[in-house]
């Protein structure tokens, strides 16, 4: 966009060396985010010109040499009126541009991927919908999307208001109890993008991230088939013990693992926990160590979250983390 090279936005651009990022509105990877980025730079350019003009006039007004008999109210009236008209014209223009941008954002696609995202304090439940019940599956805190295919999100909230925001892909939309909101966008490039809850939702609002993995149609299909299946069967003795711990301790009353007796619905579905890159909604990268740390003391890592500390001895914790880390 031409306005990006506008010299007055240069200081901003310099300060903004970190604009490229996995959670940045200025590093778009979908048509929607790209349109919004253009709109942002257009507004920035126009506003910068106005601000500089006003400041220059102010500085001249303050510093100019006063000569007697320069009072000329008629001329001042004319200049002020012109400036007001210019203001009206500019904001009318910006309103039209903004209106057009809104219209251009809507994407309806019969082939759109339907996903329901439900916000919980403080994690995201993600359900891939399908007309056929056996094609429906649930995961958490991670969306996999095929590149180039429009996705249609149904946004719902289980407790308080949350807001779905993945700036690299599109603008945000709130998840509100008692209301059904939707959001559509078409990811344009393969990559990993981060999103974060944008509406204050309580103690762990800061730790309510989600990851969007945009991949080729083939990889997506591979991942989808994997998610449809039940959890991996434990192989080693340690993992088998871990599964028993999970089923017999408090874990099973809140979490679901397909293919085990655990079928809780309060916490995230853990059927393919180890296939997800992070646990606890973006808090820790998934590995056996972080899983053990989390299970051992969730309230220190994420104070106030709804997972209680379950008393386990060292061998139980060890077995449990081995089992969970095996759930690819």
């Amino acid at each position: 966009m031409a306005s990006r090279t506008f010299p007055l936005t240069l200081p901003t651009a310099l300060l903004c060396s970190g604009c490229t990022g996995w959670q940045s509105a200025l590093d778009p990877h979908a048509i929607q985010a790209a349109r919004l980025e253009h709109l942002i730079w257009l507004f920035v350019a126009v506003c910068t010109v106005i601000w500089v003009t006003v400041t220059v006039v102010l500085v001249v007004a303050l510093l100019r040499r006063r000569t007697p008999s320069t009072h000329n109210d008629t001329r001042m009236t004319r200049v002020v009126s012109a400036a007001v008209v210019a203001t009206a014209v500019i904001i009318t223009g910006l309103t039209i541009v903004s209106f057009n941008a809104t219209r251009g954002m809507g994407s309806s696609d019969a082939n759109a991927l339907e996903i329901r995202v439900r916000g919980y304090q403080w994690w995201w439940e993600v359900t891939y919908l399908d007309a056929r019940a056996d094609q429906v599956f649930t995961t958490a805190n991670e969306l996999h999307l095929p590149v180039g295919r429009t996705v249609h999100l149904q946004l719902a909230a289980a407790d308080v208001i949350h807001s779905f925001w993945v700036p690299n892909l599109t603008g945000k939309q709130d998840l509100i109890p008692g209301r059904d909101n939707t959001l559509s966008f078409t990811p344009g490039e393969i990559g990993v993008y981060r999103g974060q809850c944008a509406e204050f939702c309580g103690l762990q609002h800061a730790h309510m991230a989600l990851l969007v993995i945009v991949e080729s149609a083939g990889s997506f299909e591979h991942w989808r088939r994997g998610q449809l299946g039940p959890a991996a069967t434990p192989r080693g003795a340690e993992e088998k013990t871990g599964k028993a711990v999970f089923e017999n301790k408090a874990c099973a009353s809140c979490h679901n693992i397909q293919g085990s007796s655990a079928s809780g619905t309060v916490g995230p579905d853990l059927t393919h926990l180890a296939s997800r890159r992070y646990i606890a909604s973006g808090l820790l990268q998934t590995n056996r160590g972080s899983i053990a740390a989390w299970v051992a003391d969730p309230q220190t890592l994420k104070p106030g979250n709804n997972m209680p500390r379950v008393t386990l001895d060292a061998s139980e914790l060890n077995a449990l983390s081995a089992y969970l880390a095996s759930l690819q």
């Binding site: 901003t12 990022g21 940045s24 904001i91 809104t102 946004l155 603008g171 008692g178 209301r179």
Partner: protein
Amino acid sequence: MSDSGNPPVSDAQLERPELESRLAATWRTPGGLWGVLSTVDHKIIGRRYIVTAFVFLALGGVLALLMRLQLSSSERRVLSTDWYNQVFTMHGANMMFLFAVPVMEAMAIYLLPLMVGTRNIAFPRLNAFSYWLYLAGGVMLWTAFALNMAPDVGWFAYVPLSGPQFGAGKRADIWAQMITFTEVSALAVAIEIVVTVLKQRAPGMTLQRIPLFVWSMLVTAFLVILAMPTIMIASTSLILDRLVGTHFFNPSEGGDVLLWQHLFWFFGHPEVYIIFLPAVGMVSTLVATFAGRPVFGYLAMVLALISTGVLAFGLWVHHMFVVGLPRVGESFFTISSMSIAIPAGVQVFCWLATLWDGRLSFRVPLLFVIAFLITFVMGGLTGVMVASVPLDTQVHDTYFVVAHFHYVLIGGAVFPLVGAIYYWFPKMSGRLMSERLGRWVVGLLFAGFNLTFFPMHILGLMGMPRRIYTYSPEMHWDTLNLFSSVSATIVAAGFLLFFVDVIRSWRHGPLAPENPWGAATLEWATTSPPPSYNFPRVPVVGSAQPLWDERDSVAVACGLRVDRRELLITSVVSAQPQARDSSPRNSIWPFFAALASTLMLISSIFTPWAMVWGSVPVLITLVGWFWPKGTPEDEG
């Protein structure tokens, strides 16, 4: 003071020295604790209000520094998440409800009667009551904070988070009753302002001769009267949901979560103009005085104030662009939000024209105006950006918005306010503040503010949401946050220096001449600080700039009695004298009434029945307050 027996004494019969001593005897505030608690002098109450509001500003500033410390780098553990949520909620609620709105009304309480040439504000006992109630609300909120039970749901207290199911303990109830305290007091002051401006102006001060600051406060007062009831309904419904088990905001029982947001922002957006419009009036006053000419385009300025006030009620939905409202509605609110740039533009252009044409005197207050213009215009322009629905979907609830509204509120309201304190300080104290320190204060605040808040625009675009107590180093937000946190200390230094200057100058500043800045408005037509009765004789106004056009001899009216408190009632449009009205004497009852109301409101946090038995003491104090005195109300 009694009417029985003695014949009435009018000021027409008296020479100046005797007139002044008799007026002083009639209007004085007695010394001692009784005097402190019972005074109804608008100057004493106004000064109290201003000092209290600045104490809350300092406290809120400390909270801001705590937040900046917590966010200065990723994963700091200065504040726990629970404390952080209390701190940011307290910062917002304190700054909006205990500092910004009260301080603007406080300036009006002190200045308006002087600027319109009357002896006291209308309903002076209500004024005293409003101060005590405001103080009680502030003390309640900060006591709750000290007890680790401050609200933690944001200054906006969105349901369901603040509702009975998710807002545990008494925290959200304290937020809701703090609203009641501050809104009752703000409404009381607004009514006083409207009546003072419309009915107590000096003879001859027709509508087109009202000073712009007075106009701005009149518009503000109407905004308060129209906007505040909404938030009181909202907070009352919330407390009913929490304490009585109603379901106004419970979707599973037919309530609506978004109803809260509509009610809150129908108040919340005008709130911004309730803070900003008085500042606009201050800027107009300062610009006129230091440019040595009336503000260019008086009529345009007044119309801009009024149209801002009207438009303020048509754009609350721009706080709700991402809740999923119908497109058409959103577009309407984009247009209305953007169109408020027109009256704002009118005012900026008129000030620029005035500065262009005037003979400037670069004293500290004018420097604040310059800082204001540069900063506020930027805040206004980012306001145009967030008014665009699609653009807002990226920046809403991010640090971009944090930057935007601090540019508008600090740049647009606090800079003019501090400038106004430098300007009117000699009126209040009889002494000037330091010109040298003042220049440092401007410099530190201006530089510190921009360095602190400009980077937040970029942080917002880089994806940093508001109200997060920490962030991961993977986000690469560390550098800008650290920069912002370090710069915040410059702002703190600026305010510290300002407070030092105020405290030092109050006792040791150089004595101010009668009209130190050569201003045009009536408050400078009496001594500094003014006597309890404001003016020995009520001035008569013949132009919009009485002290410039009638330099040495402002005409005066006579005929008011001096043996009891009387002031002149004039007509709304042309300010023709209509009646002599008695003005209430000092009374302890407003203080007792405020105590009784405090007892009732605080108890109601714990049991709704407090509204029933708590109303008995309130009733008793009101009977005392309004007990007939036997003085005739007014005489034509």
